[in-house]
Amino acid sequence: MRLFFGSCFTLVLAAAIGLGATWLTLTRGVAFGALTIGAWTAWPRSGSVDIDPYARATIARTGELPVGTGDGVAFYARTDAAGKPFDGRCSFAISGITPAARFWTFTLYDPDGRLVANTIDRHGFTSAEIVRDADGRFTINIAPRARPGNWLPTGGIEQFVLVWRLYDTPIGVATRTTKEGPMPAIVPKGCS
């Protein structure tokens, strides 16, 4: 009898541990070979056949197609320096320089990867359309309400995700240091 209860307990606990761990890793997007530069993280190996099983499972679940290695690399930012998710009711300034690439695009999504509805129908910027100062630097103002310059509306949503995609770039699996790939800084500018 004790054996029976013992094995039942073990099997239920095993299922809970196993499925719980799978759920946690897949919803949080765990993957190996992360390249983190400041607030930004990319998984260059996810765009090749060297993709690890966790990343494979994650993209199968979400239904997205990763950027291929010969095409470019995608950097994700989900939280600020303090680890807090980006709040769409707050303002942020993004400025600095970007790694070498023929083109880059910058896009704001909700946590599920959908674009966010807004009055000016703007979801991001490309390297060609962004307004720069005389030194070639730029500042993007992410805010729920209109701002001068490069304004990217948040639509006031609770939480948003930023994706910086570099196309035709030397940044990839071999990149190790921040010096090779300087990414723009994300500075909180207060909440309304």
Binding site: L13, G18, T25, I51, A60, G63, L65, G70, T105, R114
Partner: protein
Amino acid sequence: MILRAFLWVLGALVLGGIVHLSTVLAMPQAAKQDAYARLAPVAPVNTMTTLAPPSAQASVMPFMDPAFAVAVCRYDISSGPLKLNAPVSQAYTSVTFYTRNSVAYYAINDRAAGRRAIELDLMTAEQHAQMPEEEVVTAADRLIIESPTTTGLIVLRALAAEPGLMAMARRALAAAQCRIEPQQKP
């Protein structure tokens, strides 16, 4: 008593680890809403289809780049090799090959292709090995890609550097073609 309970918990941990690893490994096969499944209703087999641009209301796949026009060829090369012909748009064009389970196994951009159009032959390793020798020589200037699976996705992306250029990028993609080569009689 405590030792016995400890052993049961230890057993649960080991079993749980096995459950975790096997569910992660089985996920790509079990997923019902992966990219291929999402594209199946909108993209016919072995035909190039330009996708509707992503918007806040609807998007075929999550995390699509709104600055790009996208065309998809959902291929099935079990009956023979596939020919891909894609004119290059003005700003930036890339072609990425995915397996049935969304693994990007090959990607090339317009500059790496080095021509005004990207021309590729897609075949399985078996079909590649069966190619007659003379054909291999004449095919030297054609780019041959080996697909690890008989089904998969070819995704063409053309950048619209400004929203005003989107119509042009979509036109460039509309001229792209993918089709099965007619089988030659032996």
